[in-house]
């Protein structure tokens, strides 16, 4: 894992001191809320429905044990005892006091964490694969490139006041776990015919009120030229992106109005004029970063652990957990474990301090001290010996974190919605819980298989509803909460935007409607088809008829 050296640490100290000074001026009345707002936003501090909310960056979704313990401590000391993991690999504390914020930032800085660029019209935290460095699927470690981007984008002077916020994702596996195609820039690592590394560059993806799937503007960018190319993309966007209307300011609007081809041409033209020697990272620095991600401590083990096989045979609960939450590791005898934050009665993405501390302990004992955060609001322990799986499972059960539902119907993404968010039209969390409640029967959930449900409380789409296999959007109809369902979205390598099923439903009707959709799928599916595949084959009509049958 990348470790901060004295330079990185001094940078965070400088940042934290600067903010303490600014908060002091605000509390003393020297700054008005208007003047203070951009400053606090630059440090991840939002004013929410009930209190301040602090958004802490988790660089490309990677945490160590000390960091998770510190997050637990902050949740207990300064919040109501829990934190909320978001869909962009951040963690949010929803009940923070302004006067505590500088102390919290100091406490974070001590473990190399910060809130820099977690809001504002700048380059935000880079999304990466939570299985980086652990999966055999990847052709390179995407964290190397994510760290290069982290450094390059941190307080980038030219790109700190973009037309709108800007998010980059880096993926290196055929299976995309970063939602790269709905980022402003999606970078997919590819291997060239000559064995060299490159990126497929996709631009202009995004959700919100005008969702777009990113389009490829470069099939193969030599990997060592990444930073100069990003500079070219950002410069074209900074100059030409719209600034007259915040709803039209994302790069997706620029790309769609110019056309991807013309946008790509402008980027090439700009890129050709950039001095590569100044803009691209030297090979020595790339080598330094790469070395930091070489995983020490992996033992040479037999491919199969007999004790684990026996335990799985004897314990059906462990066997179910293994089927749904455990995947292959690149090293023989190891496994990757997904930890679900979607227990049926939980708020999706919430973890309390006890749970965070338990995760830190378990990661220390069983996962080489490495913890990852996924954009689907779950955690990952990436390096677990198969022979440790039974003990890890027991440890997770003890703190309510062994829910065996990864990618299943109850593994729902939901934004905070009306329970916390000032912009919401409708509640999201109770709807997620009502669906989870309806699919409590774990055998049935497994029978249904992969089904991604995503819920947003308004059109800002924080819950990614556009790319849910089933998307649920809260809308306001004459002061009442309604929900609009969409089908057929995907944020993965087969990305697509969902289509509207029919008229909005009220809160009580959503879970039964999902049930009916699932019944249609079970009746129609062929072979190994997922819900999404069946929908793509048979289309909207049978689903629509089943949900609105009473309306005829």
């Amino acid at each position: 894992m990348y470790r901060y050296d004295a330079i990185d640490k001094e940078f965070l100290t400088d940042r934290s001191n600067e903010f303490r000074h600014q908060v002091g001026r605000r509390l003393a009345g020297e700054l008005s809320e208007d003047q203070f707002k951009p400053l606090r936003l630059m440090n991840g501090l939002y004013l929410q429905l009930h209190a301040y909310m602090l958004r802490v960056c988790i660089p490309y979704g990677t945490l160590n044990v000390a960091q998770v313990r510190r997050l637990a401590w902050i949740a207990r000391t300064y919040d109501k005892g829990y934190g909320h993991f978001t869909t962009r690999q951040n963690i949010q504390f929803h009940w923070v006091k302004l006067r505590d914020a500088p102390d919290i930032l100091d406490a974070l800085a001590e473990v190399d964490l910060h809130a820099i660029q977690t809001s504002g019209n700048c380059i935000r935290n880079t999304t990466s694969d939570p299985r980086a460095g652990a999966t055999a699927e990847e052709i390179d470690d995407p964290r190397v490139w994510s760290e290069a981007i982290r450094q390059w984008s941190t307080l980038h002077p030219e790109f700190s006041y973009l037309p709108r916020k800007f998010k980059i994702a880096v993926t290196a596996s055929a299976k995309d776990r970063t939602a790269a195609r709905v980022h402003d820039i999606g970078l997919a690592l590819r291997q060239g015919r000559d064995g060299t590394l490159g990126f497929e560059v996709m631009v202009g993806g995004g959700m919100g009120r005008t969702p777009f799937i990113g389009q490829t503007i470069k099939e193969f960018l030599p990997a060592t030229r990444l930073l100069s190319y990003l500079e070219a993309v950002l410069r074209v966007y900074n100059r030409a992106g719209r600034r007259d209307n915040i709803y039209k300011a994302r790069i997706k609007i620029l790309v769609s109005s110019l056309g991807a081809e013309e946008f790509g041409r402008q980027v090439e033209e700009e890129w050709a004029q950039i001095d590569a020697a100044r803009a691209d990272l030297p090979d020595t620095e790339l080598a330094r970063i790469r070395a930091a991600f070489i995983q020490p401590g992996l033992e040479v083990l037999p491919a199969v652990s007999d004790s684990y096989e026996a335990a799985r045979g004897a314990n059906p609960a462990l066997a179910r957990f293994a089927r749904n939450n455990v995947s292959a590791h690149k090293a023989p005898g190891y496994a990757i474990v997904d930890v679900s934050l979607k227990a049926h009665d939980a708020t999706p993405g919430d973890a309390n301090s006890d749970q965070l501390e338990a995760i830190a302990d378990l990661a220390e004992r069983f996962s080489l001290g490495d913890i990852r955060v996924t954009h689907e609001q779950n955690l990952v322990l990436p390096h677990v010996k198969q022979s440790d799986l039974p003990a890890l499972f027991e440890g997770l059960v003890a703190v309510g974190l062994a829910t065996p539902n990864i990618n299943l119907v109850s593994d729902i993404i939901a934004c905070p919605g009306l329970d916390y968010c000032a912009l919401a039209n409708a509640r999201a969390i109770p709807v997620a819980q009502s669906i989870a409640q309806r699919f409590l029967d774990a055998d049935r959930a497994e029978l249904v298989g992969e089904l991604k449900i995503k819920i947003s409380g308004c059109i800002n789409a924080c819950g990614h509803h556009h790319v849910g296999h089933i998307g649920i959007l809260g809308v306001d109809k004459k002061g009442e909460e309604y929900y609009q369902l969409t089908l057929g979205g995907s944020g993965a390598e087969d990305a697509s935007i969902g289509k509207i099923l029919g008229p909005g439903l009220n809160a009580d009707q959503v879970a039964p409607a999902v049930d009916r959709l699932v019944e249609v799928y079970l009746a129609e599916r062929q072979g190994e088809e997922r819900f999404l595949d069946t929908y793509r084959r048979i289309g909207m009509t049978p689903f629509k008829e089943a949900v609105y049958v009473d309306a005829h």
Partner: protein, 168 residues
């Protein structure tokens, strides 16, 4: 008269502003150093530059700084306009003036110029400021120099973290 802060390697100082902004369509005052629009310099450039006073040009966010390329050696300064502090296009204009067009004269920030942006402005090669928030040179200097390290190359030529001798 508004404060003008000049930033050099030795820090920030307040200096007298000798330049007058000439509004398009209005006559040029006799004998004064002037700042005119891009449109005006394109239309009347030769006459203005021949008049013996120092001439600067103000670039608005939507204008292409490249249009000044040929005139640059004869300009005393380029003013980059920030109609709102959130409008970040001038950062690109300033960067290109320094890195691509090789301009060594003064690049001056005018408009909604706030101390909170001192750091990024300086890094983009802006070296003169007309602050809109009443900042003194000392306050400006403190804000601009707050960070001991920088992570990327920029127009100010500071050494990025990766090239520092202490990088581990």
């Amino acid at each position: 008269m508004s404060t003008l802060i000049k930033y050099t390697a030795n820090g920030a100082t307040e200096i007298e502003n000798s330049f007058v902004h000439v509004v398009d369509g209005e006559p040029v005052p006799q004998g004064a150093d002037i700042i005119v629009s891009l449109g005006r310099i394109k239309a009347e450039g030769e006459a203005l530059l021949a008049s013996g006073v120092r001439v600067g040009v103000q670039i608005e966010p939507a204008e292409a700084v490249e249009d000044l390329a040929e005139l640059l050696p004869r300009l005393a300064l380029v003013a980059v306009a920030f109609p709102k502090f959130r409008d970040g296009r001038a950062y690109t204009s300033a960067t290109l003036l320094r890195q691509r067009l090789g301009f060594n004269g003064e690049v001056r920030a005018v408009g909604d110029v706030l101390r909170e942006q001192a750091y990024v402005m300086t890094r983009c090669g802006i070296d003169a400021f007309v602050p809109a928030d009443g900042s003194s040179a000392a306050e400006w200097s403190r804000a601009a120099g707050h960070f001991r390290h920088v992570y990327q190359t920029a127009a100010d030529g500071r050494t990025p973290a990766y090239a520092e001798p202490g990088r581990r």
